[in-house]
Symmetry: C2
């Protein structure tokens, strides 16, 4: 392939290829990083500081349940939080198209403020660039965040070690082992379908609200229980992609039960109509959490007591009996859950 | 004004207005940050971690002396370095237009690698988004960086305090006081003119090379001498804007001498032809350094021994005798140096 295609940015197998073949080849040149780029985890870690960045190119900028402002703040907070770190600060860089309405900018800034206050993570630095009409589709917001180790993380790790070995100081994608339970913190597919439904032209009317939310408080409650080994937010490529990443990095199979995966009726019917798989649709307010099985029920209870985790469910288990990810279907039998080649819904984050 | 204009992103007075009236109103809501967003310094500081972000929207992507890759890595390293901090890690987020040539991407990644290795600051995390043709003008790269306090910074501050009071632990824009000398680390205007000349259509042929470079090593050499109070890299809005920012934040006048400001002949003639002021043209490999006068000559010597600082010069002094920034011209007399309304050359960083 000589050109970049949409699939290169779609969070699936093609994007993994670009990152592994090109990005890592050039950018991953030092071996003394605690969690380096090559780990392809939600955040990197250096000198005990978690660090992450995401550009947001969503279309439309405003959608049911949020906008590019709440999304860019939430997504970055979540990438730090799923490492078990406490997000302490955000930076945000705006690229704005000439002619953008000031009142829309203020609306977006208001959302950022609200989300930042809600999560108690301040935006402490930024950048603003304006480009001529046509040089960008309205706006790109890039947010970066830093996070720190906390006593909560230490305590969580100690709790894991009561039940099994763990040779790691952070909550990493590669920590999953046979027997660990897999929790999803709520319904899936809401965000991607919300954006799609609002774009119009798809012929469905039901308004699905995006789940976009900062998850640091919910994750904090789960970590108070302890026993969490792996965590990820299933954004691009959805639950399918996230489970496959966990399985691959931890070198363990994952078996899930379809009946345990919650999908809102409106999302389910939109997916049926569009021929999409809800498991592959991106989410912006959910966490996939691997927990030692002795603590799974307790973590589930703690999650369900939070606003963001009220629909949490144990959906499966890590097992050496299979390779990759498989699902026991409602109708009976098993099917393989493959990582999607790309996200079926472009520009959702 | 109801719409965003190019001037809102041009680094001058209009952009300062947008940032102060809108960005700070919404985003600057916590009072416990060491160096908050409202300081509008080159980096923020929280928990002794320096933190900065910049989106790069340059046109063209490749120019004499560098490309968007070397620029995005250098610029962010410099924003940390001018706080007196040591940059320890970078993150980079790509937004790429569908159809972008893979070989161009590899060339840019190669530049990022080279600059990162040269500066010894690793890129440890990233993000890649691809948008459909027409949704972005080729590529935006956003880089963020974190930096730490070092013994070198402590020692530099102690050296300042031998000569005068300083109630601050970082090298800040607001630290300048009467009598401090102002050093510029080399020729000005190279970067902006380089991009302009390469864009074509401007009717001049001389190839000016951009000065784009990571300055952390040069700044390290200067800090070994000590006595540095303020530092800034004069990017958008050029030297004029930087001096005005220093003057305003430190509440002290700055008097500079035109004869001490080095401008390459090719830059000077390009500026004359285009009716531009070299003082307002952006730079990407220069630092403006305020030093207690007792250490100024020594810092100058140290700078001149480095590759990036070989043309360094003391260009002026902070003084209470004037308000704002003024310049003694070569032909005689003084003129006021105002902050430009915007950058005369758009999309140079």
């Amino acid at each position: 392939m000589k050109h970049i295609t949409l699939a290169h940015g779609a969070g699936g197998a093609v994007m993994q290829g670009l990152i592994k073949d090109k990005m890592l080849k050039y950018l991953d040149h030092r071996s003394d990083i605690q969690i380096p780029l090559s780990a392809l985890d939600d955040s990197a870690v250096i000198d005990d500081i978690a660090f992450t960045i995401d550009s947001h190119t969503i279309k439309p900028l405003f959608f049911p349940g949020g906008d590019i402002g709440s999304l860019s703040v939430s997504g970055t907070i979540n990438d730090i939080s799923v490492m078990g770190a406490r997000p302490i600060a955000l930076s945000s860089a705006f690229v704005i198209e000439e002619g953008f309405l000031l009142k829309d900018l203020e609306k977006i800034l208001g959302s950022m403020q609200k989300t930042s206050v809600q999560a108690d993570v301040p935006i402490i630095t930024g950048d603003t660039k304006v480009v001529e009409h046509g040089a960008i589709d309205k706006m790109v917001i890039t947010t970066s965040a830093i996070g720190k180790r906390t006593e909560l993380l230490e305590e969580n790790i100690r709790e894991v070690k009561k039940y099994r070995e763990l040779n790691e100081r952070w909550i990493r994608d590669s920590n999953l082992k046979e027997g660990d339970k897999i929790i999803v913190s709520g319904t899936i597919g809401d965000h991607g379908i919300s954006l799609l439904s609002f774009r119009g032209g798809y012929g469905f009317e039901s308004e699905v609200k995006s789940d976009v939310a900062p998850l640091n408080r919910m994750i904090g409650e789960a970590m108070k229980v302890g026993g969490i080994v792996s965590m990820k937010d299933p954004t691009r490529g959805g639950l399918s992609n996230t489970l496959n990443e966990l399985s691959e990095k931890s070198d363990v199979g994952i078996l899930i039960k379809e009946e345990k995966i919650k999908v809102k009726e409106a999302v389910r019917s939109a997916c049926e109509m569009l021929g999409m798989d809800a498991l592959e649709i991106g989410n912006e307010g959910k966490a996939v959490i691997g927990v030692v099985f002795e603590k799974a029920e307790e973590v589930l209870d703690a999650l369900r007591k939070t606003k963001e985790g009220k629909d949490a469910e144990i959906i499966g288990v890590a097992t050496n009996k299979i390779k990759g990810v498989a699902m026991e279907t409602i109708v009976g039998g098993k099917r393989i859950v493959e990582a999607p080649m790309g996200d079926p819904v472009p520009r959702i984050c």
